[in-house]
């Protein structure tokens, strides 16, 4: 199993396609950094236009934490596509190349083969998120410095102290990794049903778009299914940036307003990952290799 896992990771990182996602994230974050560095003041003015008449804010608003939050809001919508590029290609790509039949004539069990591939996909997903964290958090902290984080929510404002932010990002990235692993597990499952990767990649994205629309539609009929859709819980990372307040409306440092929401969302995502993996194993055991 360990050998299979090593081989799968080796194969992923020897493929040029793998680096498309890393290059895309680097390019996108680079553009955001470039834009905000040159024209950040105007962006902040635009962001604060509705509240500047009622409150005065001092300090470095456009700091590394703020930029990281902007990056995450923008990128975490698109990262699933980059994850699907590799995850949805894991089995279908082997079928397309013709290597699947050669691999499965070797003395390895199908279950072990599939689990090793799944684990390698998760490693890729985690590394992509780590790379995102390095660029979006650490690099922005270097470029833009650090200060308090000022977040405008739909009906309230959150102000997080500088010393109360970093751990929240750690939690947010860990949660995002779980959310992206769910996308990877879905792409991986769909890759079992095709002999080329285009179909599973498009199918993965279509399902995510479809379910995201269902998750965001405020129609009572859909409210029954929403809690069970993994897309509803993928934005759970934002919960890390809501802080508890006391009776005097003072923020309590080091707290999260709804920690159970994070736990529940994580459980839903984890359940989906396990479910997708078990279905994949069941399908693959019965699959005739005709490619």
């Amino acid at each position: 199993m360990w050998t299979l896992f090593q081989i799968e990771v080796y194969k992923i990182f020897r493929r040029p396609r793998t680096y498309i996602a890393f290059a895309a994230i680097t390019g996108l974050i680079g553009i955001i950094q470039f834009g905000l560095k040159l024209d950040g003041e105007q962006y902040v003015e635009f962001m604060m236009r509705d509240i500047t008449s009622s409150i005065t804010i001092e300090g470095n608003i456009l700091n590394g934490y703020q930029v990281c939050y902007i990056v995450l809001q923008v990128l975490l919508v698109h990262v699933p596509l980059l994850i699907a590029l590799v995850a949805a290609d894991m089995i279908s790509g082997e079928a397309n190349m013709g290597t699947l039949r050669l691999l499965l004539t070797k003395p390895i069990s199908r279950d072990a083969f599939l689990v090793a591939k799944f684990m390698a996909t998760m490693v890729y997903t985690l590394l992509l998120l780590i790379w995102l964290a390095i660029l979006a958090l650490f690099l922005n902290m270097l470029i833009f410095g650090t200060d308090d984080l000022f977040l405008l929510k739909s009906s309230y404002i959150v102000l997080l102290r500088e010393n109360d932010i970093f751990w929240r990002y750690c939690g947010a990235f860990a949660f995002a990794a779980l959310a992206m692993s769910t996308v990877a597990a879905l792409g991986f499952l769909l890759s079992l049903f095709a002999n080329n990767s285009i179909g599973p990649i498009v199918a993965t994205m279509s399902i995510i778009v479809f379910l995201t629309i269902l998750s965001t539609l405020n129609i009572p009929l859909f409210s029954y299914v929403k809690p069970y859709l993994f897309t509803t819980h993928m934005i759970g990372w934002k919960e890390f940036f809501d802080i508890k307040v006391n009776a005097s409306n003072e923020a309590l440092s080091g707290t999260i307003q709804h920690p159970m929401r994070i736990v529940q969302s994580a459980m839903v995502l984890l359940t989906h990952i396990v479910l997708f993996l078990l279905i994949s194993i069941w399908v693959f055991r019965k699959k005739d290799i005709l490619s």
């Binding site: 050998t3 299979l4 081989i7 080796y10 194969k11 020897r14 493929r15 040029p16 190349m97 013709g98 290597t99 039949r101 050669l102 691999l103 499965l104 004539t105 070797k106 003395p107 390895i108 069990s109 019965k286 005739d288 290799i289 005709l290």
Partner: protein
């Protein structure tokens, strides 16, 4: 002798299509088992079932005396296979591909032994080149190196000469003969080309539409005493009359619009040619054909008229 491979009533259905229909055969150790049939006859499906790629609908596969359904891993440790095209990782070098598949086969060969394997298939000087730049013949040779890297007892080659040039075909032929005679390996080789199989096979199976048509010892099936010869002359009927009154009369089979059919021992063909000259028969062509070829075409080609039986 215990057969190395024993197939009993093997059947595979894809929906309503029966690709392999109650196929039974056995393969002796240290033999080359030729698997012959037209495209779509069920050869590849059978071979994929032998290597565990396709699950049989019914029937039994025993290899090395073990049931494939129960001992797949142990059996596959002793099998090397090239199924259809020898597809490997294009973005890896020949050496990296060989090393990767060796590890998957459960061995950790040294660099020297891997280079030795590549040298045996003539790829030592291209070991570090990416496979993407390889010709079909080179990929085929790499595929064979991968199939042999873990020293298997049974080698399964499905259409190994597809897409190869004449030199590549000859190389594969020599390799198969070498594997059997020098290395005492058992080889199952499938092809839709009789000419390929007849030069290497010691046992032969012809299948058509998933069913067994003929199985036997190749030396019997390719019996030179049963060579069919077709003569084409300027006046076939006159030539037929002349031959009726000659020493070749017992060998005459019949006359067709294409020529005169005789069944002779292959070694008699030069004497036949000499006699035709002496009898002053104006010969256009003399074509020896195996009886098996006619038989194969008769059972596998719709509308084919057998020159022997008609």
């Amino acid at each position: 002798m215990q057969p190395l491979v024993k197939i009993t009533a093997l059947t595979k259905q894809f929906g309503h299509l029966t690709a392999v229909d109650h196929l039974s055969f056995s393969v002796e150790p240290a033999s080359v088992y030729g698997f012959l049939g037209q495209n779509g006859a069920g050869k590849s499906t059978t071979i994929r079932m032998l290597t565990g790629l396709i699950m049989p609908t019914s029937g039994e596969i025993e290899i090395f005396g073990l049931s494939l359904a129960k001992h797949k891993k142990e059996i596959l440790q002793q099998i090397g296979a090239v199924i259809e095209k020898p597809d490997v990782y294009q973005y890896l070098s020949a050496y990296d591909n060989l090393q990767l598949f060796a590890r998957l086969s459960g061995i950790r060969p040294t660099r020297v032994s891997l280079m030795d394997q590549l040298a045996q298939v003539g790829l030592a000087d291209r070991a570090k080149d990416k496979v993407a730049g390889f010709s079909q013949g080179m990929k085929q040779r790499l595929g064979i190196a991968i199939a042999l890297v873990h020293q298997p007892q049974l080698i399964i080659l499905d259409e190994p000469t597809n897409g190869l040039d004449p030199q590549g075909i000859a190389d594969i032929r020599h390799l198969i003969i070498h594997l059997r005679t020098e290395m005492k390996k058992t080889v199952i080789v499938s092809s839709h080309l009789l000419s390929e199989i007849e030069q290497v096979a010691t046992q032969l199976l012809i299948i058509h539409k998933g069913k067994k048509v003929k199985e036997g010892n190749a030396s019997e099936l390719f019996d030179p005493a049963k060579t069919v010869v077709q003569l084409s002359t300027e006046q076939n009927e006159t030539a037929w009359a002349v031959l009726q009154n000659s020493a070749w009369q017992p060998y005459l089979e019949r006359i067709t619009p294409e020529g005169i059919i005789l069944k002779v021992d292959r070694r008699q063909i030069p004497a036949l040619h000499q006699s035709l000259v002496q009898l002053q028969i104006p010969l256009i062509s003399l074509q020896p054909r195996h009886s098996l070829e006619d038989y194969f075409l008769q059972v596998t080609t719709p509308g084919y008229v057998d020159t022997l039986s008609n």
